[in-house]
Structure formats: C-alpha cells, structure tokens
C-alpha cells in the first residue's frame, strides 16, 4: 500500500503514527531516491506501507517525484504494483491538494483518503462536509489528525475494509480536454475548485489569513533577511553550546574503551589496529554526531513550521547573483555542521545543473571537523588575545562562504553555464511543529550519517593506520645517536620519542618528507607536510598527527604542550617554523582544502559519477594551495615571516 500526498500535507507524520518505530529507510532499486517502508498491523492481516516522496502532481519535475509517480503506476523495475493507495489531503489546503487527488484516483487503484489536519481546520472555523467529498471522490474519506493521533482507528478499519474488497474508486474522470487549450491541467483545477466549493463550509480563506499576516514580515525584503540571520545565528549557538557536553562524553567513552581494549589485548600490531585504527577512527566520526543531530532536529522543526520555505524565498535573490538557487541555502547552512548531510539534502533542488553547482561548492563551508584545526592554529598564533582569536575564527568562516559563492560563480561561467532555474516554491501555512516527527526524522538522518560516513571512515581509518605504522621501526633500527638520545629520556618521553621516530619512518612520514618541497613555498616544514598528507582523508587527523610528530604521544596532556612544542619548532637553519605567515597559510589551506574522503564518496553517489568527486578534489586542492601560497608570500613580504 502506498502513502501518497502533497509535500507539507503531513504525510510523514501520519506514516510515523501508523507504523511507529517499525519503519526503515530504503532506496528504490537503481536510484538514490529514498522512501520509508513500515509495517501496518490490521486485525486480519499485516500490510506494508510505502511512504512515497511528496508530490504536487503525477507529471514529475524532480527525480523524487518521478520515482513516486512511477512507483504508483507500477512502472518501477523491481517494485511490484501497489494494491491500494492511502491518499493524504491537507484539510486546511484542500482545493490545491484535490488536484493530485484527481490524478491519483484516475489510476483506478483502490484508495482511502485521510483528511489530515482536520482539527486545525476546525479550529480555524472551517468545516469540511464529508458526504459531498466522498461522493465526488468515490472513495472513503476519513478525517484524521496525524499530529494528535485522532481518527486513526476509523482510518485503519477503512483501510482494512478497502483491502478486503479491493474495490476501485467510483471516480468519474473529468472529461479532460487535453489538447484544446494551453494547460492540460485547467479542467482538473476547475474540478478541484468545484469540489472544494461544494465540500468546504465556512471561511475558506481563514487558514491563509494568519499566515499572510506573518509573511508580511518574514518574507519582507529587509526584515525577512534580518529574521533569517537571527534564526541562523540561534541555530549555530544551539549547535555549539548544546553539543559540547555530549561530544566530550563521546570523546571520553572512546578514550576509555580504547584503553580497556588495549589492556585486554596483547600489545602488538593487532591491538594497535583495534585501538588506534578502528576505535580512534570511528570515534573521530561519531564525535560530530551530537552537532549533526541538533542541526537536523532544528531543521526538521523549522521545516515543519513552514519557515524553511520562507528562508529559501528570502535568500533566492541573494543566491541568484552567484548562480545558486534559493533552495541551495538550507544545504549551505547544514554544510557548516557537516558537508555529507548537506550534499544529501540538495535533493530538493529540481534542476540538475543547479544541484551539481551546489554539491561542488558545499564542502568549502567550515564544517565542525575544521574547528580543531582552527583552534590549534589560532591558539598558536594569538594565544594571548581573545579578540584576535575571534577575528581569525570569523575569518575562517567568512573565507569559506566567500570561496563557495565565488566558485559557484566560476562554475556558472564555465563548466555548468546558465542561470539558476527561477524560483517556484510553495509557501505552506504556518503551523505548530510536531516534536515526535522531528525526533523520528532526526534519528533516521543520524543513522544514515553513521551508515554513510561510518563504513567509509572505518576503511579509511584502517588504511591511514597502516600507512602511519608500516614499515615498522624498532628502537634498534635507529641511528646510534638517536638511540642514545631516547635512552636518556624518562619512560613516557622515551615512548613518545620512539613514536615520533616510527611515524617519521613510516609510509606516511616518507611521503610527507618526499613532498615537503611542494609545500615549502607555503611555509610548511616536513612535519606539517606529513600532517597534510595524513589528513588527506579526514582533516581533523592533522592535529593528532602533529602531536605525534612533535613527540607528544597521541594525546598531549593538555594542548599547551603541543602549542609549546610547535612554537619551539625550528627550520634546519634555526628560524622558527610557526611564524604568523605560516600559521595563516596553514589556516587558509585547511579552510579551502577538500581533505575528506567520506564527503567525496557522497558526492560521487549523489552526482552519479566519480568524475564530479575528482573535479571537486582537484579544484579545492588547487584553490587551497594557491590561496595558501599567496597568503604565505604576502604575509612574509609584509614582514610577518
């Protein structure tokens, strides 16, 4: 049985009500279009309910709509035709919803209509006469409130009855004149308006009035933008404040379990693989989960209230200047937590070129994985001045945004020419959001993030671990004077010094040393070069790599020791490595460089080709290198080197 309805009709809330937690997310075979499948238990049978993507009509304009329409018509390969349809109509927006209803009923599939948000309609003084409506639609119409859970019993028994009889709807298709005028929908809309008039009692405009009053302000040319900035600011403050506690907990949890495991396993390669490779790698991803969860939760709430459509509306004019559609703004917002969910959320953008431009520039936004890097560099350069730190942080964010807009413009002039397709967006009635739905959606999205990022990250972590571990170096392999130097140290320092030597002689260390000349014009020494190489797949790794390279072990007691060691670091000629010029150059490099393999995997999947992922890697690396080079050389010329 398929669940069908307009976007914003409350389809997902109803789906969650009916299936509870027994639902899962799946892809239609051969597509990246997702849908939710859940079990529905009736008295005499159990039914599989498929939540199809929301659509306005059966003539698709997005990939999601296309798949939904195909699935309904039984044209989707590998998917059997549906036995029945549960059609969700929004009682507060009935006329427009009836257009899709007409198309669906014409398919002749047994149908039950759930008239959702009946309670809200009633509150607003709107009565819907079920008699005439059932007469016109030729199928049972059950008023429900998915949010409150009202009317579900009646809905279930009606579904059971329909599945038993499998009677197609007694629907007389409007004698559509498909060719004699400019719009083949015209007669269907005429029908929808006529049915709406016969069924709706009371003030049909009531639901719109409050919304239009609010929209006077929220879509206002200036106040709208100001309000949007406030919402964005509040979201970020929430993300960073609320997430810090669970992030610390996750960090400690993984630290403790790594210790536990290393205590249980005999020391050696296997123990190191499990603790450093697997636990360390997976922990490095999961630590971002709280931020991502909060972001998704806030976005789900905003979406449910109807505000997100306004955000896209007010941003459209601004975004159009650089060739991005207004609908790219929510993905850009999400990218500040993590590019992976952001790229996944570009699916709302109908036009493929618009979507590709958005995907290509999204990873330039400062994601949370960049923050540890910014923090170290900023502390290194301006440890004594809070306001200078703040300025550099803000600079990092701004640089990412400016670069993304700039590159979007460049792609629009070159590879993906053309203007973004003009905005057409429904501005739904404002309504109270459903906490339950938002929580379920958040859980689902988080799980997808873990699945997506987790599997890739695990392989990458193991690969990186191997590169940083082999070939192995024992104390006896080192030159005599180095052995002597290590022997003279205390137990912990000796262990760290050996670790430093081991990393230096590993594949990662050798590669870093070999490419040092490439990074020398950026002011990087071989240690920073190793850091850049080892963080190729996951940028946050650079901090722990530098820490090992400076002989501090993986996690220095406090960051001050790492900062101290980095400050004391000297070029062979005795000049300090970490000048302001080097620091700024390193910062610029990490703002702009791709340095995230999981994101690339998602880009490849969502764009349908690894070519786009390679292009993304190529242009971002070039941009990062050139910008860091300019930064270093300029700063050095100004005497900051």
């Amino acid at each position: 049985m398929a669940l069908v309805g307009n976007p914003n009709a409350g389809k997902t809330t109803l789906f969650n009500r009916l299936t509870g937690l027994r639902a899962r997310t799946a892809n239609f075979s051969g597509t990246t279009v997702e849908h939710r499948i859940g079990g529905l238990r009736l008295e005499d049978r159990s039914v599989t309910l498929i939540d199809l993507p929301g659509m306005y009509s059966l003539d698709a304009s997005t990939p999601d709509e296309q798949v939904a329409a195909d699935a309904l018509r039984g044209k989707l390969p590998g998917q059997s035709a549906v036995d029945a349809v549960l059609l969700v109509l929004d009682a507060t927006n009935l006329t427009r919803n009836l257009m899709l209803a007409g198309q669906v009923l014409e398919l002749g599939i047994p149908t039950v209509v759930a008239l959702n948000m009946s309670d809200v309609a009633q509150e607003q003084g709107l009565q819907i006469e079920l008699g005439p409506l059932e007469q016109e639609l030729g199928c049972p119409v059950i008023p429900v409130s998915a949010k409150q859970g009202d009317g579900l019993e009646a809905l279930l028994s009606s579904i059971a009855h329909t599945l038993q009889s499998l009677e197609p709807p007694h629907f007389h298709s409007s004698e559509a004149c498909q060719s004699c005028n400019g719009c083949e929908y015209a007669s269907r809309f005429d029908w929808a308006e006529a049915v709406g008039r016969s069924a709706i009692r009371g003030d049909a405009e009531a639901p719109s009035r409050a919304t239009e009053a609010i929209d006077q302000w929220l879509t206002h040319r200036f106040f709208g933008l100001a309000f949007f900035s406030l919402v964005m600011l509040a979201t970020f403050m929430l993300i960073f404040w609320l997430a810090s506690l669970p992030m610390d907990l996750i960090d400690q949890l993984f630290g403790v379990s790594a210790e536990l495991v290393s205590g249980l396993l005999p020391a050696g390669d296997f123990s190191s693989l499990i603790t450093d490779g697997v636990i360390g790698g997976v922990g490095g991803v999961l630590i971002f989960l709280p931020q991502i969860a909060i972001l998704f939760f806030v976005l789900a709430l905003l979406e449910d209230t109807g505000y997100l459509a306004r955000a896209a509306f007010v941003m459209d004019r601004v975004m159009a200047r650089v060739g991005l559609p207004g609908k790219a703004f929510v993905p850009m917002l999400s990218a500040h937590a993590c590019a992976i969910p952001a790229i996944m959320s570009t699916r709302v953008i109908e036009n493929r070129r618009d979507r590709l431009v958005s995907i290509l520039v999204l990873p330039l936004m400062t994601c949370s994985a960049r923050l540890p890097v910014y923090a170290v560099v900023v502390a290194l350069l301006f440890g004594d001045s809070a306001w200078k730190k703040a300025v550099v942080f803000a600079g990092g964010y701004s640089l990412g945004i400016v670069a993304a807009f700039g590159m979007a413009w460049v792609f629009r002039q070159s590879l993906l020419p053309g203007k973004p397709s003009p905005l057409v967006i429904e501005l739904p009635n404002y309504r109270r959001p459903s906490l339950r739905s938002a929580l379920l959606l958040t859980a689902d999205r988080c799980w997808q993030f873990v699945k997506n990022a987790g599997t890739v990250i695990l392989m990458i972590s193991i690969g990186l671990w191997a590169m940083a571990t082999y070939p192995k170096t024992e104390l006896a392999d080192l030159p005599a004077e180095r052995q002597a130097a290590i022997a003279s140290l205390g137990e912990t320092e000796a262990e760290y010094a050996l670790g430093q030597a081991q990393l230096e002689r590993s594949v990662a260390g050798r590669v870093g040393k070999a490419i040092e000349p490439v990074f020398a014009p950026l002011g990087f020494d071989w240690k920073i070069s190793v850091g850049v190489v080892s963080s190729f797949a996951a940028r946050e790794v650079v901090v722990s790599t530098l820490s090992i390279l400076y002989g501090l072990g993986e996690e220095p007691e406090d960051t001050d020791t790492l900062l101290g060691a980095m400050r004391a670091s000297r070029h062979p000629d005795g000049s300090p490595v970490f000048t302001v010029a080097t620091g700024l150059s390193l910062l610029v490099f990490f703002v702009l460089a791709m340095q995230c393999l999981p994101t690339q995997a998602v880009t490849a999947r969502e764009s349908g080709s690894w070519r786009w992922a390679w292009l993304q890697l190529g242009y971002m690396s070039t941009l990062a290198y050139v910008a860091a080079l300019l930064t270093y050389q300029t700063a050095a010329a100004l005497g900051l080197g």
Binding site: T95, M99, G182, A186, D190, D215, F313, G326, E350
Partner: protein, 91 residues
Amino acid sequence: MSAISAHILPTASVEQTGPTHTLAQLQRGDQGRISSVEVGTSDLSRLKALGLCMGRNVRVVSSGNPLIVSVLGARVGLSHSLARQVNVQLH
C-alpha cells in the same frame, strides 16, 4: 473569486473582464485570472503543478522579486522573471 470561470473550460472565447497585465506588473492585493503562460517547458511543469496555469484565479500577496501569489487557496513564491511571462486579466 468568479463563479463562472470554474464551470466552463478556459478557451479563447472566455469573456474579457479587464485589461491584461503580466503577473510581475501587478500590485499587492490585485486579483485576476491567468489568461496565458509563456514559460519554457522545464519551468512550466513546476508552475502548473502548483496551480499557476491558464484559467486560475490569482491574488498578489506581495509584489517584488521574488513575489508571492495566492492561487487555489495556497501561496506560491516565484521569481520576477517567471512572473513576467504569466499574463493575467484583472477582475
């Protein structure tokens, strides 16, 4: 909302009720009936699915770029560039 338009098919013979403007030229509060839509195919299907097609009654909720129109009891936001290609007969 006009009572006649809903029961007859919108053809060329529909009686003229007022001067024709593009949707982009209308001011807030103006109401009328869409007489033709001259948009390319890819954007046309998006407009049509939301009710912006020949024969529908529209009311401008806010003008500017993008602008908001009310159609079929729901609001649609659209770019000025598209609104220029939608012709409306004022009531």
